[in-house]
Structure formats: structure tokens, C-alpha cells
């Protein structure tokens, strides 16, 4: 019996954001990435166009991170060298972008200097050809300084800078405007604050197609359903032509999925949970695949094995067209 599919007609679409710049565009990237542009809910190919596939940015830190040994094992030998680490992510694990996070800049921690941060950012840029996402250490004042310095030093590279928040958005937005980069607008699982922040940023003069939404997420088993529903609302907002919600979304999958006990407890402690080696990978991969269905455009990931699974998964979802 033939079935007629019911199709929804949407008035809006997710706006497109371009990351990175090649030599013609004033940068040094060998690949430039466009995200967003979807005209329908995730992967409903029969209903509308999925223009750009979701991409994976692999996380690189400026210091040897406090990740569990299983995850770190994939990067042995490069964890103390951000440039080499980034190179490995791109060459070996086929990362679409590099997500460089300056954990070491934290005033409570190693308190890395601005010059150092700039130097590392430049080294990573030189080591890989993919676009970069740059984030600070989540200390608002220090982040403002780092982002301003890196934005200036890397002018022309069309970076994605993070993160602007409702209480602290002005300096990072100003840096992105002056040096022509893009920014991540982060809101705490709240659609209203998400939209309000976009309005505030836009009112400063940054075009809407230079903003990426970080809705903040929970990992698998730790509130992922909240993230799912907020992201779904953002996507429905963009499809109903709400310009202040129509940005592509970025999700901190690696960070959230690797936080819980389930992704860290040794096999010996909970034999019933199975091997940690598998668990770590699956926890991150499942978190990522659920958020893809919610509308994520950029996934920030850590574990190479999880990245591999999700790359295949994305390819399958696109091929289903």
C-alpha cells in the first residue's frame, strides 16, 4: 500500500556560518568549513535540504589534560605539544576542525601568559590546515584577555571564538568584530537567555551569520533530554524564521560525556558495566549521536574511537538521502 508522507513546510532555515579562511580570503587555512543551512529538522531528507553535514572538532589543550588514561592513550607522545596533538587529530583521526582550549591559562592553575597563549595558537595554526575554535579557561576576566589577544594575533583566520555569555559578552564580541572572527554564544540550557544573548550580541553590531549557539548540554544519563528539548526548540525557532534563534549549534560532547563516573570507573570496580575501554567510547559516541538528532552542527569531541564512529554515523545519515 502506498504511503503518502506528510511534509511540513517551513518558512525559515538555519543560517550558514563560514569558519576558517584560505589564502584568497586572507587566511592560511587549506580547508574552509560551512555549517548550518538546514531547511528542515535533522536528517528529514524527504522534507527539506540538509545542506552541510555536521562536523567534528577535536579537542586540544594547551596543557596535558586530566583526562582518564584510556582516552589519553590515543594521544600518547603528543599531549604536551598542542601543535603535534592537533596534527595527529587532523592527519590520523580526520578531525574537521581543531578545538583549542587554554585550560592552562586559568589564574587558579598554571596561569599561562597571554603571549604564551598567542604563541600556542599560532603554532597550532601553522601545524594544521583546518579552521580553529579557540576557547579560554572559563575564568571570565582571563578569557576576555586571551580571546582579545588571540583574535588580534590571528586576524584574517576567521576563527570561532568562545564563549560569550549573558554576563560577559562585550569584550569577546568586540574582539570578533574588530578582527573579523566568529563567536560562540553560550546560554545555560535556556531558550530565552539564548535568544536574548543573540539579540544583545547582534545589537553590538556583529552580524547574525557570525554567531554559533552553544546551548550547553548534559551528557548521556546526565540531563541530555533537557539539552535535546532546548536544541529542538532552537531548531524549530530557526525553521519558523526566528532570526534570533537561527544560528547553527555547537555541543561540548567530549567534555560532558567524559565527566560522569560511568565514563571513568575502572572495569574492576563495576564488572557489570563492561570494559572501560568500550564504555568511554560508547558514552561519548551515544551522547554525540543523540545531539546530532537534536540538530547539532559542530560536535566538540575527544576520543578518537568515538570520533571514528560518529564520522561514519554522520556519513550514513547523509547518505540516507
Amino acid at each position: 500500500m502506498p504511503v503518502t508522507l506528510v511534509k511540513e513546510r517551513y518558512t525559515g532555515k538555519v543560517s550558514e556560518v563560514v569558519l576558517g579562511a584560505n589564502s584568497e580570503q586572507g587566511g592560511t587555512r587549506t580547508s574552509v568549513i560551512t555549517v548550518g543551512g538546514d531547511c528542515t529538522l535533522p536528517f528529514l531528507h524527504f522534507e527539506g535540504k540538509i545542506k552541510n553535514r555536521a562536523v567534528i572538532a577535536m579537542e586540544v589543550n594547551d596543557i596535558n589534560p586530566s583526562w582518564n588514561e584510556v582516552t589519553k592513550a590515543g594521544f600518547s607522545g603528543v599531549l604536551d605539544n598542542p601543535a603535534a596533538w592537533a596534527q595527529k587529530c587532523v592527519n590520523e583521526f580526520r578531525a574537521d576542525l581543531i578545538y583549542l582550549k587554554f585550560i592552562g591559562a586559568d589564574p587558579e592553575g598554571e596561569n599561562r601568559s597571554l603571549d604564551d597563549c598567542v604563541r600556542i595558537a599560532k603554532e597550532v595554526l601553522a601545524a594544521v590546515g583546518v579552521p580553529l575554535i579557540i576557547c579560554g579557561c572559563d575564568d571570565p576576566e582571563k578569557d576576555n584577555e586571551i580571546i582579545a589577544a588571540v583574535a588580534e594575533a590571528c586576524a584574517g583566520e576567521n576563527l570561532l571564538l568562545g564563549s560569550a555569555e549573558q554576563d560577559n559578552y562585550k569584550s569577546i564580541v568586540a574582539a570578533a568584530m574588530v578582527h573579523k572572527h566568529n563567536i560562540i554564544a553560550r546560554s545555560p540550557l535556556d531558550i530565552n537567555i539564548c535568544k536574548q544573548l543573540n539579540i544583545l550580541i547582534n545589537e553590538m553590531g556583529l552580524p547574525l551569520n557570525r554567531i554559533v549557539i552553544d546551548p550547553m548540554i548534559g551528557g548521556l544519563g546526565f540531563g541530555i533530554e533537557y539539552a535535546y528539548s532546548i536544541m529542538e526548540r532552537v531548531r524549530l525557532g530557526s525553521l519558523s524564521n526566528d532570526k534570533m534563534l537561527s544560528m547553527p549549534m555547537i555541543c561540548t560532547v567530549g567534555y560532558e560525556a567524559n565527566r560522569p563516573k560511568e565514563a571513568n570507573a575502572l572495569t574492576a570496580e563495576f564488572p557489570g558495566w563492561g570494559e572501560l575501554e568500550d564504555r568511554v567510547v560508547l558514552w561519548e559516541a551515544l551522547t554525540a549521536s543523540a545531539l546530532l538528532q537534536a540538530g547539532a552542527s559542530i560536535l566538540l569531541m575527544r576520543n578518537p574511537a568515538a570520533v571514528k564512529l560518529i564520522k561514519t554515523h554522520i556519513a550514513d545519515l547523509i547518505a540516507a538521502n
Binding site: K170, N192, I193, K195, Q196, I199, L200, E203, M244
Partner: protein, 657 residues
């Protein structure tokens, strides 16, 4: 307990109290009212006083700043008398009395200022009496004047050995004729009967009889020597913060006198919740807080009666919120506060004045407006009556902005209501320099965008002491306009215009509205970032309440043909600015109407017209109450309204970005 004396300056009043009494209590006993917003819990810091001699016992310094402590300031509610003391009370800690605006101040506004709300009567000319009359006379005509009490002159024939009918039968027979009462019984209470024989004979059988007049029966409340004075009634509005009493001539319908003051219960907290908590602690407390409101009302009645040559009052109609009504009658209020928020009664039995000690004729009846729910009280029923919305086809939105934002929506076929807890900020509460709309309050603000210089208009053009609700609305709109705050209410310290007015203090960001040398208290009057966020919350709550109500009945905003605003702060409200900050829906100015203190107006209407009173009783039963705390609609609406004007710009098309 040993006793000590406390001397209060600058009043130069001395009082002896038991040691251990709080300074707040001592001041109250001395007849000085100190502001106590938190109800004496030591959290608001409003009751600060200076101790200039003697050592007091301190229990806590609350949120006094280190600067204040260094100046020898103490929280009067947390500081106990331990020995003889001399206390200095600064003007800002004093509850200013007798400054309640009983007059609709719209009359005082510039007539050219079209931006303001004002009833046309107010702007054309004249005294408040006229405004009130014009406003309500139509309604009075519609309902028909038939007051809740009446007074008749009766000339009886003197009894003889052959005409030996008893006194009461003689009187009632004559009354029946005069009143044309038909089947309606005429009753006489024992207390009047007890002195009736003497009254009749003293008057030589020519008497004036005052009766209360209800559907069910007439009741004689006073028999006196024959005279032609009219019967008087009182329209009383008991607000959480202020109380207003109007003396009404029941034969003409005119308001003869009007008085207002603060509700003395305020010493147990600014809001109804603190008062319920206090009252529920013990039966003595319930009685005590009841006595305070009775005393407040009696004080006003006494003032009026003294001015009017000791006339007597036959009846009263009282409108107040549910909590006030219960406290007025001394009914245990505790369950109003507790889920599922159930009031003791909606319909309230009329009581004789002697039962609650009100200074009316002892047998005079006190009628209290029925309530709809715990947070939609008789004051709103009274206001709804005045809007006349329940008799028309058109959909009307009625908003009473007080400590709560009560909202009623509907027409002749249906009425829904809700209460949105906006907080006292539009009445000046919870704002660093907030004050009620009274002389000395900044009511209008303009900020020059190029220089950030401020231009204020102060009520009665005296030096400013603070800022009232309408000033706050203006202030927010102007701060946003000038780019001093962003749409989320964050202060922009990196403003391109360098101004001394905009600065960061140790614990807050502030903008100076008036410099110390220009003010009453010799202190800079500022608005802080916290104040701004408070106002955003309050306006968000009111707007979210409106949206929730509209959603509940699936009515679009442009289906509303009239928006009626009531409340003390509405007198000066700028519609433009209110829309700009997202307090009120973005509709054309012509749709907005202001009716001032609707609660007391409704009480007067009911006093003069039995039909109106019946309609009020009917209204309270007809109105559907929507509890906003159920479901997620209100919360969703509230969060999206916490932005200037709103997260959804489509709701505010006229506000230019």
C-alpha cells in the same frame, strides 16, 4: 523587668519601656512610625537609627554597610533597650504619614502632556469631587441609587389610653408606610429596643430613624430626635500598604470627605505573607493585627467625624484583598499562604460595627466585598465593578498594579482573573531609593543621550527624596535609550560618554539620578543594577501574567478593545515608556484608560446602589480564577519577558530597535 527611658530625636519624645523592648517597638509606643519592610526580621535595613547616647543591646546588624555601622547606625528592630538611650531617627527611616495620595493626582499634571494617562475629566478641569462624580455617575444611573442605609423622619401620634399600641409596633407601622416596605420585614436589635421608649418620648414622638436596607430586611440602627440630616456611609479601601476612607452622603451620593493613611499593620511586614506569618503565630497575634487595622480605619473615621461636626455613620462598604479582609475580621489567615491557597470565605457576612469595634453606629452594618480566591480579593471585584466590563460585548483587560499585579480579562459572557506576584517595586519597595508616589518622589526622568545629564520632575516640585513607580518606568526606558543599560539590564560602564553619574561601587553598579546637594536626605539618589533587575522582574511578572491569561482563554492581544489600569502608581504612568520596557502590551494609546483607585470607587458605588452591590456579589461568583503557579505557562512567559522589552520582539512592533 527593669525599665529604662528612651528619648527619640529630633521629635524630643521620651518614653519608658521594659528592658529588652526593641527600639522599633519603643518608637511605635512613642507614636513614631519607623519603616519596617521586612516586618522586624532584620533583613531589609530600612529601620536604621542612630544611637547618640547609651549602650543598646544588639542582636544583629543585618545588612547595614560598614559605613553605616561606623556612623553608629543600628537596626531598630534588632536592637534592644538595655539602659537609658537617646535615639536619632533619620528622615529616610521614618514612615511618612498623612501623605497618602487620596486625590487623583492626574489633575496636577501638565495638561499638554498627552503621553500620560488621565481620564479626560481630570485633564479638562477641576476638583477631584467632580472627577469622581463624572466617572461614576453614569454607572450610578445605570444601577439606580438605592443606598445600603437610609434615614427617615417619622412623626408618630402620641399613645393614649385608647390608642395603646406598643412603642415598637407604633414605630414599625409608621415606618412600613413611609418606606413602602411591603412584605419586607423591619427588625430592631435589642440594643436599640432597650432605649426606644425613652428616645421616642424625649423626641416628643418626632424622630429620625436610621435603618440599614438589605434585600431581606430593614434593620433599625438608630432612633433620635427628629432632624433633616442625611444618612452617611463610608467607602473604605484597605490596601496592604495604605488605607483610604471616604465619607459619602447617602442621599446625594457626594463624597463629603476623604482621608488616607498607612496601614499600621506595616510594622509586621510590607507584604501580606509576612503579616499572615505573624498573625498565624498565636491567637493573640491575630487579634493584635486585627486591632491595628481597626485602629487605622478608626483613626481616619475620627478625623473625618471631627471635621464634620460629629455626624454619625450608618454603614460602610469595605474593599480589600483577601488577606486584608480576613485580618480585618480577625479570621485566621494561615491557609491563604499554604498550598492549595484556600481563603476562609469568599462571600463575607455583613457584620455590625460593634462586633469589630468600628466607629460607626454600633448596629450599623459593615459590608465587605467578596473575594474570588486567595489572591484575587474584594478590591479587584470592586475594581471590576467600576470598569463595567461585565456588561459589555467588548473584551476588556483590567490591570491593578499594586504589590501584586492582579489582572482580569473578559466581557459580559465570561471573566477570568489571575494574580501575578510582581512585588512591591512599583510602589517603591525593594528599590534602593524607592518610595511611594508622594511629595518628594521623582515621577519623571529624562536623560540626555549626549551628556548623560539627568532632568527630573519631582511631585510638588520639592527636593527629591526618592523615586516612585512612574519614575522607575521612565528611568528604565531612559537608561535603555541612553545605552546605560543593555536589554538584559546590565550596566554599561564602558559607555562612550564619560560621566561621573555612571560608576561602579564596591557591591553594585550605580547611576546617579540626583546629587546629594539636590536631595532631601543629602545623599546621592541612585539607581543600581540590582534595582534595574528588580524592575525587570516586576514588569516581566505583570506582562507574563497578562500573556498567561490571554493564552488560557486563547484571546489575541488585538482582540482587546480597552485596557483599564488601576493602582496608585498608574496616576502618572507613561504608556510610551511602559510599552518600551515591556510592562504593558503594545497597543495604541487610545485603548488605555486609567481609573485611579478603583477599589474605593467600587466601594462607593456599592454603598449607593443595592443593584451594584448585588452585581459585585455576582461578579465574585462569575469570575474564574487561574492559578499561575500551576503548569509551566507562566514561568515560560516570565522568563521570556525578562528582557527589554521582551525576548520576542514581534510582540512589540512599535518599539524601534
Amino acid at each position: 523587668m527593669p525599665r529604662s527611658t528612651v528619648k527619640f530625636l529630633p521629635d524630643n519624645l521620651t518614653i519608658e519601656v521594659e528592658n529588652g523592648t526593641s527600639l522599633l517597638q519603643a518608637a511605635f509606643m512613642a507614636g513614631i512610625n519607623i519603616v519596617s519592610s521586612c516586618g522586624g526580621k532584620g533583613t531589609c535595613g530600612a529601620c536604621a537609627v542612630a544611637v547618640s547616647a547609651g549602650r543598646p543591646g544588639i542582636t544583629c546588624r543585618g545588612n547595614l554597610t560598614s559605613e553605616q555601622i561606623a556612623q553608629g547606625m543600628y537596626l531598630s528592630c534588632q536592637t534592644l533597650v538595655a539602659e537609658d538611650l537617646t535615639i536619632e531617627i533619620p528622615p529616610e527611616s521614618r514612615l511618612r504619614e498623612h501623605q497618602i495620595l487620596t486625590v487623583d493626582r492626574g489633575a496636577a499634571l501638565e495638561k499638554t502632556d498627552v503621553d500620560r494617562i488621565g481620564t479626560p475629566e481630570l485633564q479638562t478641569d477641576g476638583s477631584e469631587e467632580e472627577c469622581l462624580k463624572e466617572n461614576e455617575e453614569d454607572l450610578l444611573l445605570k444601577y439606580g441609587q438605592h443606598p445600603l442605609a437610609t434615614k427617615v423622619r417619622v412623626r408618630l401620634t402620641e399613645p393614649t389610653l385608647t390608642d395603646n399600641t406598643g412603642d415598637w409596633a407604633r414605630l414599625s407601622m409608621e415606618l412600613r408606610k413611609i418606606l413602602q416596605s411591603g412584605d419586607k420585614p423591619i427588625n430592631i436589635p435589642l440594643s436599640v429596643l432597650q432605649t426606644l421608649p425613652k428616645s421616642l418620648r424625649n423626641a416628643n414622638w418626632d424622630v429620625s430613624v436610621t435603618l440599614s436596607d438589605l434585600d431581606t430586611a430593614y434593620t433599625v440602627i438608630k432612633v433620635e430626635d427628629g432632624n433633616n440630616c442625611p444618612a452617611y456611609g463610608l467607602a473604605i479601601d484597605i490596601g496592604t500598604t495604605t488605607v483610604i476612607v471616604c465619607l459619602v452622603d447617602l442621599s446625594t451620593g457626594y463624597i463629603v470627605d476623604k482621608q488616607g493613611t498607612f496601614n499600621q499593620q506595616a510594622k509586621y511586614g510590607d507584604d501580606v505573607i509576612s503579616r499572615i506569618v505573624y498573625a498565624a503565630e498565636s491567637p493573640e497575634n491575630t487579634q493584635n493585627i486585627q486591632q491595628l487595622i481597626i485602629d487605622t480605619v478608626n483613626g481616619l473615621i475620627d478625623t473625618i467625624l471631627k471635621k464634620q461636626n460629629n455626624i454619625e455613620v450608618a454603614t460602610a462598604v469595605v474593599a480589600g484583598n483577601t488577606t486584608m479582609a480576613q485580618l480585618f475580621l480577625g479570621v485566621d489567615p494561615r491557609y491563604i499562604r499554604l498550598e492549595p491557597y484556600i481563603p476562609a470565605m469568599n462571600d463575607i457576612p455583613s457584620v455590625a460595627a460593634r462586633e469589630i469595634g468600628l466607629h460607626l453606629l454600633p448596629e450599623g452594618l459593615v459590608h465587605i466585598f467578596p473575594s474570588v480566591a486567595s489572591y484575587i480579593g474584594g478590591d479587584i471585584v470592586s475594581g471590576t465593578l467600576v470598569t463595567n466590563m461585565a456588561n459589555k460585548e467588548d473584551i476588556v483587560l483590567f490591570i491593578d498594579i499594586g504589590t501584586n499585579g492582579e489582572i482580569v480579562l473578559g466581557n459580559k459572557d465570561w471573566l477570568v482573573s489571575c494574580a501575578s506576584s510582581a512585588g512591591p517595586c512599583f510602589e517603591g519597595g525593594g528599590i534602593t531609593f524607592g518610595m511611594r508616589a508622594m511629595p518628594g518622589a521623582i515621577e519623571r526622568i529624562m536623560i540626555d543621550q549626549a551628556t548623560l545629564e539627568v532632568n527630573c520632575k519631582v511631585i510638588d516640585n520639592i527636593s527629591p527624596g526618592g523615586i516612585c513607580g512612574s519614575g522607575l518606568v521612565d528611568c528604565l526606558a531612559e537608561l535603555l535609550n541612553a545605552g546605560i543599560i543593555d536589554r538584559a539590564g546590565n550596566f554599561q560602564l564602558d559607555h562612550p560618554v564619560v560621566s561621573e553619574r555612571l560608576k561602579a561601587m564596591p557591591d553594585n553598579k550605580v547611576f546617579v539620578l540626583a546629587w546629594a546637594h539636590q536631595t532631601e536626605g543629602n545623599k546621592d539618589i541612585v539607581i543600581t543594577e540590582n534595582d534595574v533587575k528588580n524592575i525587570i522582574r516586576a514588569k516581566g511578572a505583570i506582562y507574563a501574567g497578562i500573556r498567561s491569561l490571554l493564552k488560557a482563554v486563547d484571546v489575541e492581544i488585538d482582540m482587546i478593545s480597552r485596557i483599564v489600569i488601576a493602582g496608585g502608581f498608574g496616576n502618572y504612568l507613561s504608556i510610551n515608556d511602559s510599552v518600551k520596557i515591556g510592562l504593558l502590551p503594545d497597543l495604541s494609546q487610545e485603548k488605555y484608560h486609567y481609573i485611579g483607585n478603583s477599589s474605593v470607587k467600587g466601594a462607593r458605588l456599592a454603598l449607593l446602589s443595592q443593584n451594584a452591590w448585588h452585581e459585585a456579589l455576582e461578579l465574585s461568583r462569575k469570575m474564574t480564577y487561574i492559578e499561575l503557579s500551576v503548569g509551566t505557562t507562566f514561568m515560560d512567559e516570565f522568563v521570556s519577558a525578562m528582557f527589554l522589552p521582551h525576548t520576542d520582539f514581534l510582540l512589540f512592533p512599535s518599539v524601534k530597535k
